[in-house]
Point group: C2
Chain length 358, copies 2
């Protein structure tokens, strides 16, 4: 995923109105990184804002903005950092250029799945570590949703071997592009609005976005024949709400709790929306003639080894990465061992068995 919805004339640097403090009312603005058309991501941010407003009976209101409305999408993190808006709603993998360590928040290749990420953040010590990271950028972070395992994206040609990645021009953000480049791929970052024409003209050979429900809206299935799975570059893609530290500290305890609760609620509801809507969207995409493909196992194995090598390299070069990795890796390993026993065993049986009569 990567979002770059820059509206012409958007006033990133404009001096925005200070929060209303009269009568104990708190008014925040959430400058999200999403277009309104993505009712999953933007819709979840909007629901979060509505919930805070509703539960506080209007004493703490958060107005939700699409990317580009008051701040260009990918400048929204900076806007929160400098305090020109109070909060944002991001996929932190889009900000690895700012700090590679945000990958522990948004998701690492072959990393924690949605439940594991949630468990690590809330019950595995992850939140404190991530809070330390965001503090450097003058922000307080909250796990506010997840899109689950993403699709591997649309490709104009089949990927049969690792060698087929050589020279592949692919729109891919975050950590995935870093790994792709190690195999001769050419990762590109393009604005959402530019992807379709680039793919159509052959300027790029492939693009990943999110999953069937979101991808369908962007129409890639009309111009690229192969839809690959899985999006191995994030074990799951977690969505983060960030608040400016000073703005956060100025909140009353109950307003802090309201914001936090609304984020936790969206971790349930955003995932539910994706899980309920992706199946039909995939059916429609395949029904329209798209060829569904799974990345070949030898390629997956090469990406897997390469990803962990990259983690080790980064840990040897970057003290923050090392600290996070040394907390994250045992959690992943330990959690995988448990998931293998019950969750995966039953899911595996169910998902590989035909439902009688269907």
């Amino acid at each position: 995923m990567d979002r770059r919805h820059v509206l012409a004339g958007a006033a990133a640097s404009a001096v925005l109105a200070a929060p209303a403090l009269s009568q104990g009312l708190v008014r925040w603005r959430m400058a999200t990184t999403w277009p309104k058309s993505l009712d999953t991501l933007y819709g979840s941010a909007e629901a979060l804002c509505r919930r805070v407003t509703q539960l506080s009976e209007g004493k703490f209101t958060i107005q939700c903005f699409a990317g580009g409305e008051i701040v260009p999408a990918l400048q929204s993190f900076d806007a929160v950092q400098t305090g020109s808006v109070e909060c944002s709603h991001i996929l932190s993998s889009n900000f690895l250029g700012k700090d590679i360590n945000f990958a522990f928040d948004g998701g690492l290749p072959f990393g924690l799945n949605m439940r594991q990420q949630t468990a690590w953040v809330h019950e595995g010590g992850g939140l404190n570590l991530l809070r330390d990271l965001y503090k450097k950028y003058n922000c307080v972070n909250f796990l506010a949703g997840n899109v689950g395992v993403q699709m591997g994206g649309f490709f104009r040609r089949e990927i049969r071997t690792v060698e087929d990645l050589s020279g592949l021009k692919m729109r891919i953000g975050g950590f995935g592009g870093r790994i792709l480049a190690k195999f001769g791929g050419v990762p590109q970052v393009l604005a959402a609005s530019d992807i379709y024409s680039a793919l159509e003209r052959g300027t790029i050979d492939a693009t990943e976005w999110v999953g069937p429900y979101d991808d369908e809206k962007l129409g890639f299935h009309r111009i690229a024949r192969f839809y690959y799975s899985p999006g191995w570059w994030e074990g799951s893609a977690a969505i983060t709400a960030i608040a400016n530290t000073a703005a956060w500290e100025s909140l009353s305890d109950v307003n802090k709790a309201l914001f936090e609760t609304a984020c936790n609620e969206q971790n349930t509801l955003m995932m539910a929306k994706y899980d309920a809507r992706n199946p039909d969207a995939l059916r429609r995409i395949v029904g329209a003639g798209t060829q569904l493909r799974i990345f070949p196992r030898p390629m997956m194995e090469a990406m897997y080894r390469s990803s962990f090598e990259e983690f080790e390299t980064l840990a040897s070069q970057n003290a923050d990465f090392k600290k996070l990795y040394e907390a994250w890796l045992p959690f992943l390993d330990n959690s995988n061992a448990w998931f293998r026993v019950a969750e995966y065993t039953l899911d595996s049986f169910r998902l590989t068995s035909r439902i009688p009569g269907r």
Copy 2:
């Protein structure tokens, strides 16, 4: 799972104080079905109550009680139904004797996993259907958590074939017991406090409960050598908060929203707690000498076929079951098809691959 913590002298039928209505304050009591020792289940109910109290700044307080404190655990549903308490916190699979259709809420054998159940309830039409069901019992229901896939329980002897189930005396609640009985097993319902001695004396041969973290507390690993997986009798075990309909209708809109939000938050946080704590608990149980076993595939296949046969039989006999089943089954089938593509493909790769260097 099954909970029957009946404290001697608990006053199920006692006339309890009416909710305080003075000064616009609302005071509710939640009579849970859990012992306080289960910090996962009881802890989540308590956190839910605390959240409502906190966010309402004390205007809507819910006092949380363990099973047996003010109502015997398994009479708490009745207590909500009659209005003697305002709300409870249950695994609805424990109330299949009241209505078999509650299995669609708590979980059916080989049914929806945690994410699928959440998606069905919130975005797949499940909530409305379940609301119709609970309405018959004068209750309004809320998805308030999940324990995920459960373990298959502790066995004093190995299960090698389906025939080994014949004559097996097992403490197992809900739908699982119904299927076990079809293979000659003898399902038994025992109070939590009675299981250990029954298993030790050989009055029962096996018992299931929840998963490593909860099971460890009950000490079964000290007296039964084999710990089986998975607990196929629920695709996941969802936890439900129920409120008395009249009590619910008397709430203001904001108090309704507070309760609902707190339930949605716990759907995230309860699962996170289990997912974070089960791995170490399993390690300790196995470290103490317990033999971990997976149910043989032919047995799983027999249980699978038998479960779907039972669904069909019930649908032919019970109009409510038919209505729910005809909504649930296509959702399961459709959702499984999608989970196979991305989520399962990546999880499967990750979980069957060794992490390099570990």
